[in-house]
Amino acid sequence: MKSNSQFGKLEQYIGPGGYYSSRDDVIISTLLGSCISVALYDPGVPVGGMNHFMLPFPKVRDDSLYSSTAMYGINAMEVLINDILKKGGRKNCLRAKVFGGSTVLAFDRQATYDIPKMNITFIFDFLEREHLPVDSYSVGGSSARKIWFFPQTARVLMSYSKASSGGLARRENIYSQKLLESTSNAGKPILF
């Protein structure tokens, strides 16, 4: 955690695949390209958290919520939800703000799969299925987004970032590759 002198609070930055939640008066921040971040909070406690994820590029096109790529998104949401519940949040009181899914990826894959659109479709489908109300969102477009989330008040500040889209795209591409590579090791079963 670093100190944010502008707001006089501690700030936790999360990168691709990360998540963080807190009951404290802190800031959770991230920089998003085609990835999605969900700020999730129970205002009654108050407690909140945010994640940063994307669905890996699928080997075959499959837009369903049942695809193995969608499982990564479901998992990213579940670990965040569980972390908030462990800090006193109540599942039926959780509310969401959704950000990201911009088109910053300039790779060949972009032509075959609309990754940002896939990420956006996934997250709204997921939140609807889980009955998690969405208070606000900013998705799509072609600019990176910088997000600051204040979990105690559920306030979010967002600015479009001039961050190098090439650098951001490379980082997201590496993250996606890692996700796919982890498929073979995922869920190694243990029988007692």
């Binding site: 049942y66 479901i74 998992n75 579940e78 073979s184």
Partner: protein, 121 residues
């Protein structure tokens, strides 16, 4: 006819995904949203396997496993835990509670089916 499996998870998305994978392999699937509902389902419906999450409201998965192991008529049903929890202490707690196996999410579809076939050939 395929074996019957009860899927216990508070996430609708997880239940639907697991149902989809199991039904593709010919299993008959029942669902419950937490441990309490899982126990109720088990008292009404005979199943060959239970797949359960750990962190759930009302009654968590490991409490449900302990209660199943204490209940005549269902105490021997195999229970596979499917969870984001991967810490050794929690896995050990699951073993002590009487779980049959443990899979950490996100899981691989083929490995899930392989594991089920090892438990209920």
């Amino acid at each position: 006819m395929g074996a019957s499996i009860l899927v216990v998870d508070d996430s609708v998305s997880i239940r639907q995904s697991v149902r989809f994978i199991l039904e593709q392999s010919g299993y008959i699937v029942y669902e419950a949203a937490d441990g309490q509902e899982g126990l109720k389902r088990l008292s009404e419906q005979k199943v060959q396997l239970v797949i359960t999450d750990v962190n759930m409201p009302n009654m968590d998965g490991l409490t449900m496993v302990r209660k199943v192991r204490e209940t005549d008529g269902i105490k021997f049903v195999p229970i596979l835990v499917l969870t984001t929890e991967s810490q050794g202490a929690v896995v050990e707690e699951g073993k002590k509670a009487g779980a049959t196996g443990w899979i950490v999410k996100p899981f691989n579809n083929e490995k899930l089916i392989e594991t089920i076939k090892k438990i209920i050939p």
